[in-house]
């Protein structure tokens, strides 16, 4: 699924949404719900996140009339979700639980000698393209499992930055984290994926 659209595609979609066109809503829901869920899951458990995202879409029916296009449609939707999720979090008196203390994943940190050099160097072979590797169904399933196992905060940061191609500033704003904390979340998530792919390539097991 393509999550970024050209400006002109967005404009056509926004016109459709403003006129209450059901087809436009169906298209927008397919296009933007995964990103909205990534935002909501940063703050909330799965069930609450789904509820918030559903409510947001109903809100959008009226709210889109005031959408002026200063930010893109995606960023606007993600901000609506973030605000709602934060309100929900406040009402339930909970806090986002994230660890920003160490940029190095413990499993990777264990691969260095005391002098700071590699003791167990990386063994991932990178001669196949990502697309070719993804044709391996078992690897795809394994990636799914590992993405699901990431802490929500890391996964959301990764999704918004990579898959939904937000700029760092936007991610910080939507997730309410500092630039340096976002860097930690992204790097920790990426290391986990690297370790997983490396193990998979070496052993054929997830």
């Amino acid at each position: 699924m393509e999550t970024t659209t050209h400006q002109s595609d967005d404009d056509i979609l926004i016109t459709g949404l403003k006129s209450g066109n059901q087809g436009a809503f169906r298209e927008a829901v397919r296009l933007y719900t995964p990103g909205m869920m990534a935002v909501a899951r940063f703050y909330l458990d799965h069930a609450s996140a789904e509820e918030i995202v559903q409510d947001c879409w109903v809100t959008v029916i009226d709210a889109v009339q005031t959408f002026e296009g200063r930010s893109g449609l995606k960023t606007w939707l993600h901000r609506i979700v973030a605000n709602r999720a934060k309100n929900h979090l406040r009402k339930t008196k909970r806090e986002v639980n994230a660890d920003f203390s160490e940029a190095l994943d413990p499993d990777l940190a264990a691969r260095f000698a005391p002098n700071g050099r590699w003791a167990t160097p990386p063994s991932l072979k990178t001669n196949e393209s990502a697309q070719a590797l993804m044709e391996n169904g078992a690897l795809s399933d394994c990636l799914d499992r590992h993405l699901s196992a990431l802490p929500e905060t890391q996964r959301s940061a990764l999704m918004l930055y990579e898959a939904h191609q937000h700029k760092s500033d936007d991610v910080c704003n939507i997730l309410d984290v500092s630039a340096s904390n976002l860097r930690v979340l992204l790097h920790r998530a990426r290391q986990k994926i690297f370790l997983m792919v490396e193990t998979f390539q070496e052993t054929g097991e997830c």
Partner: protein
């Protein structure tokens, strides 16, 4: 001097162009001399590409269906509410 472990710690910042000029220079110097770290940076890049190729496939069809239903109900309610035709 930058050690392999230091480089691993800031590898994502290097890949994303988030390091200052001085730090970038010391990373580049290290990479010139260290094949293992070159391999790590290449591997991390490959992992990011792989993740992107993968995450673009995910969509929760059940959630999408539930949202479509709710949006559709709300739109229909609005349309009938705004209906100004003769009773």
């Amino acid at each position: 001097m930058l050690m392999c472990r230091d480089l691993a710690r800031i590898a994502s910042d290097y890949i994303d162009g988030e390091l200052g000029t001085g730090k970038v220079m010391s990373v580049k110097m290290h990479l010139l001399m260290c094949g293992r770290c070159r391999s790590f940076i290449g591997s991390l890049r490959a992992s990011i590409e792989l993740m992107n190729a993968h995450s673009s496939q995910q969509l929760d069809e059940d959630l999408v269906r539930r949202i479509d239903e709710r949006v559709s109900e709300s739109l229909n309610a609005r349309h009938s509410g705004n209906d100004t035709s003769d009773p």
